[in-house]
């Protein structure tokens, strides 16, 4: 067994223990530790990824030498490693980007708590990515939820607490359903390890018994995770949670937490139930409908929104809709497109949150759309960042959003059934809606404000020099975006190989 195969386990443990350690460290040290841990794990994942790509294939890692079906297992393939790497990168950048804001919004004594939560979040995400055991997955889902809730309410004002409560309630509903689903699955198959479950599910299907319970189980799991990842009709908690928490939290929540759940769902689809069985049950069609309506209604509510942060939050409702629409197509192309969109959206959305905060800061902290007039001149870096993000979301070529849109469209066109035309039309329409609210904002921030107004509202100008870290972060974000947009071929390759290993 190659040493590199320990990477998944170590990275989970490392982050968790660093969290525990941080609890006794002062804020600064915790910060350093956190950054270091993220860097290390990222590097390790990159190493793992390269190794996996070189050797090809995937491996399972049994904890404590108990073989299946008793022991607990970790499974790592190209896709998992890639996801881990990507999550690390995004998390690092989000932390860097929001660091300054953190000092304004969270009192210093609580900083180490913040980093504890971040570490926990990372560990739970990694666990979700790597684990091969459904119940472990459930536990880490809960840990993830708790960490996320903490990240929301770390900024102490009524809004955040209320948002946290709402978030908790919704995700508890979700996890309740998930748990129920898992238990029933266990009841049906007698296993908790994904691979074993898959075999026995196949056996059940072959025997043709327990059809209805199986479908119900899948439904429970799917709905549970859909609620947690804010699919359209269950998105009520999202705008507040993303809109009022401190910026790093918002970025991480939108780009990592929900994506973690979605990735788990993908794993369940492929490794637990088996993709063709999923497609056979009518569940994808439901997801398809919810996805489409999410794409439309999310954008529409974003158009009506005057608060820029909430607007971005609503736009993520639409984007999640895209992803589930890809699931709903029920083809491998659709899956690939969705997974790529997970990456694209994560990169873009965190960029948008981070740059939006830059814009609101120079506008006397007001998040109102109209107070942002000319803010792009007051904080050029943030302006550029926001424009890039917006273009990517609208799907201008060269940016990541375009590629995922292209993949979705291609998947739709290749789709055999009647889902083709609705998908394409909705894609086009939602593009227009995206264009409406994003570019409206871009134009607004590039319309210069009158000097006297700026003076009276107490606006100030922020040079790139005064915010080096921030500037670097934004630049890195933009680079990632461009890479995803222009060199997407290898990434898609990774995704495809990963999916193949899932099956």
């Amino acid at each position: 067994m190659a040493f590199v195969q320990n990477v998944p386990f170590f990275s989970i443990m490392l982050s968790m223990f660093s969290g525990i350690v941080s609890s006794i460290l002062p804020g600064k040290a915790a910060k350093r530790l956190n950054t270091a841990v993220i860097l290390v794990i990222g590097a390790a994942s990159a190493w793992l990824l390269s190794w996996l790509m070189r050797t090809g294939g995937s491996f399972t890692f049994m904890m404590g030498h108990f073989p299946a079906p008793w022991g607990n297992e970790i499974r790592a393939g190209a896709l998992e490693a890639g996801m881990a790497l990507f999550f690390c990168v995004i998390m690092l950048l989000s932390m860097l980007g929001g660091r300054k804001k953190l000092f304004d919004e969270v009192e210093v004594t609580k900083h180490n708590i913040y980093y504890i939560l971040t570490d926990l979040l990372l560990s739970s995400l990694l666990a979700l990515v790597y684990t091969n055991d459904l119940f472990t997955a459930y536990v880490f889902v809960e840990i993830n939820t708790i960490a996320a809730c903490g990240l929301i309410m770390i900024r102490q004002n009524g809004r955040t607490i209320e948002a946290a409560v709402r978030y908790m309630i919704m995700s508890l509903l979700g996890s309740g359903l998930l748990l129920m689903g898992i238990c029933m699955l266990y009841d049906l198959t007698g296993h908790l390890l994904m691979s074993n479950i898959k075999e026995s599910v196949a056996a059940i299907m072959a025997a043709g018994t327990y059809q209805i319970p199986l479908t119900i189980t899948i439904g429970l799991v799917t709905v549970g995770l859909a609620i947690k990842s804010a699919l359209f009709p269950f998105h009520a908690w999202l705008p507040d949670a993303y809109g009022y928490s401190t910026v790093s939290s918002a970025a991480m929540l939108s780009s990592l937490v929900s994506k973690g759940y979605i990735f788990l769902l993908i794993k369940i689809f492929y490794c637990v139930v088996g993709f063709d069985i999923i497609v056979g049950s009518k569940i994808p069609n439901v997801l398809f409908l919810f996805g489409l309506s999410g794409m439309i209604f999310g954008s529409i509510s974003a158009i009506w929104e005057k608060d820029i942060r909430r607007m971005i939050a609503f736009s993520s409702v639409a984007q999640i809709g895209y992803i589930y629409m890809g699931f709903g197509l029920g083809t491998t192309e659709g899956m690939v497109a969705s997974i790529f969109h997970i990456l694209a959206h994560a990169a873009t959305k965190s960029l948008l949150f981070v740059s939006a905060i830059g814009l609101t800061d120079v506008s006397a902290g007001s998040r109102n759309f109209f107070d942002l007039t000319g803010s792009a001149y007051r904080n050029k870096v943030a302006g550029v960042g926001f424009s890039v993000g917006a273009m990517s979301m609208v799907g201008i070529p060269l940016f990541s959003g375009f590629v995922s849109k292209l993949l979705f469209a291609e998947a739709a066109v290749m789709h055999p059934t009647h889902k083709m035309m609705p998908t394409l039309i909705v894609l086009a329409v939602s593009t227009i809606l995206n264009a409406i609210y994003f570019l409206k904002t871009v134009v607004r921030i590039y319309v210069p404000e009158k000097r006297e107004v700026e003076a009276e509202k107490g606006y100030f100008t922020m040079k790139a020099g005064q915010q080096r870290l921030y500037t670097i972060t934004i630049i890195l974000f933009i680079l990632i975006n461009l890479v995803l947009g222009m060199m997407s071929e290898p990434i898609i390759g990774i995704i495809e190989t990963g999916l193949i290993h899932f099956i």
């Binding site: 201008i396 291609e410 066109v413 394409l424 593009t431 227009i432 134009v443 319309v447 222009m486 071929e489």
Partner: protein
């Protein structure tokens, strides 16, 4: 070899333009010289590359699914690229004098020359996706130019423009994906790339998609339901309105439609299907609609903009005949209209620059005071009317010829629309000319005191364009033969 030149030509103005606000110019004059040199150099490169004429494809960047950003010089590209590269230096020269008092010059010229590069990109892109890329960029690059004055109307106009063109592009993208799946290659090939084996029973679906894409690109080409943005965009400074909203941007839309129709789906595939009457019908309606709105309009630039709307649909009409002859007619009108309309717009700009008159009823008796401007205006007006011996007649002749030869009854009515719109054109153009030269007896000279022709920087391009209109009108054979070769796929 020469496709590398093309890349150079595309990048040069983009980078050079981007540098404009950064470079330390000692004087305004310095900047102007720099810009003009930049533009002329680009045009020179383009024209030399065209004269070299090569058909190899250059793949610049590969992105997803083996799709690449790639360039190639084929006939249509030669036409559009050549046209743009001829017009741009003149317009640039003109804008030097015009923009003197408009402010924010550096930003303006930055985007103005960047637009040049992007337009060339649209022209020389060798497959649907590269063209789509530059098409989108074109939308974005021109936004600051429309926004330039920063007045409320400008902002509204920009929003409308953005939403409509990007939305349209989104629909066009659908067709691109379909071409990816159903076509042999993304490369533009005259006669279409669709692979009949793959199509199977999907014909109707493909036709529907073509329709979507047609209207998607039709936004920039200002086909009726989507034509609203063009007159609104008239708030931009005149060099923009003249060059972009009479030539570069709108022609890019038409160009895209030509690519879509003749080089991607293929005329043969579309001819005689149920989409053809729809497309043709919309073109015909737009022709008449644009003219009649122009007649009602009192604001000079808006009137010209509406006339552009209808003239663009002449081109679409030609394209919608789905025959080589129709393509020739379309391309001919593309060229002729470019010269005539940019001429008339620049005249309007000169008027607005010299005297802040914006409305037609304010122009009484200017003819005497600004002979050059109004002389050129008259020439282009007559050209647009289609008086024989001027450019307009040639293109209309070819369009009508194609229509008659297509032996498609609807096309006959298309000729009718051409002539109706010619009559309306006469009404809205000649009424300006007559008002300028025959102010009426109760007219007192005081209102036109101090009005005179602008400086050479403005007059020279005007004269050149007027001369071009006459020249094309009197000796169009080389042009038409070239176009026929293009339509026959020789280039």
């Amino acid at each position: 070899m020469s496709q590398y030149w093309i890349v150079a030509a595309i990048l040069l103005p983009i980078l050079g333009g981007a540098l404009t606000p950064v470079l330390p110019f000692r004087s305004r004059r310095g900047m102007l010289i720099y810009l003009e040199v930049l533009t002329i150099a680009t045009s020179a490169i383009v024209l030399t590359a065209l004269s070299r004429g090569t058909t190899e494809t250059l793949h610049l960047v590969y992105f997803v699914r083996g799709l690449s950003i790639s360039f190639r010089i084929d006939g249509l590209a030669m036409l559009f690229g050549g046209l743009v590269s001829i017009l741009w230096p003149f317009a640039m020269l003109y804008s030097f004098e015009y923009m003197e008092h408009e402010g924010h010059e550096k930003i303006f010229f930055m985007f103005y020359s960047m637009t040049y590069g992007v337009t060339l990109g649209v022209a020389f892109a060798s497959d649907m996706l590269s063209m789509y890329l530059f098409y989108e960029l074109l939308t974005l690059v021109t936004v600051p130019l429309i926004l330039h004055t920063l007045v409320r109307e400008a902002i509204l106009a920009v929003r409308q423009y953005l939403y409509m063109s990007l939305g349209g592009a989104a629909f066009a993208l659908i067709a691109i994906v379909f071409l990816m799946v159903y076509g042999d290659t993304m490369e533009f090939t005259l006669g279409g790339v669709l692979n009949p084996a793959v199509i199977g029973g999907e014909t109707n679906r493909l036709l529907f998609v073509y329709l979507l894409a047609f209207f998607g690109f039709g936004v920039k080409a200002a086909i009726f339901p989507m034509s609203a943005w063009l007159p609104q965009a008239g708030v931009a400074p005149t060099p923009v309105t003249a060059l972009l909203h009479a030539v570069a941007v709108v022609k890019a839309g038409v160009f895209a439609i030509l690519r879509l129709t003749y080089y991607s789906f293929g005329a043969e595939f579309l001819k005689g299907t149920w989409v053809q009457p729809i497309v043709m019908g919309f073109a015909m309606f737009t022709i008449v609609y644009g003219c009649s709105r122009a007649v009602k309009e009192q604001h000079i630039k808006r009137r010209l903009a509406y006339s552009t709307v209808s003239n663009l649909s002449y081109i679409i009409l030609g394209a919608s005949m789905m025959t080589p002859a129709g393509m020739v007619g379309a391309m001919a009108h593309m060229v002729c209209h470019a010269f005539m309309k940019i001429g008339s717009f620049l005249c309007a700009g000169a008027i607005m620059h010299q005297t802040d008159k914006k409305y037609i009823y304010e122009l009484n008796g200017f003819g005497r005071k600004m002979p050059v401007v109004f002389g050129c205006f008259t020439v282009s007006a007559l050209g647009l009317m289609g008086v024989p011996g001027l450019a307009g007649f040639i293109s209309k002749w070819n369009l009508a010829k194609a229509a008659v030869e297509s032996e498609n009854v609807m096309a006959y009515f298309g000729i009718g629309c051409l002539l109706i719109s010619a009559l309306l054109t006469a009404i809205y153009m000649m009424s300006i000319v007559i008002r300028a030269f025959f102010p009426g007896r109760d007219f007192d000279g005081r209102s036109t005191e101090g009005v005179r022709d602008p400086g050479w920087k403005m007059c020279f391009p005007l004269l050149c364009f007027a001369a071009a209109v006459i020249a094309i009108g009197l000796c169009s054979d080389p042009l038409i033969c070239f176009l026929q070769d293009i339509a026959a796929g020789i280039y």
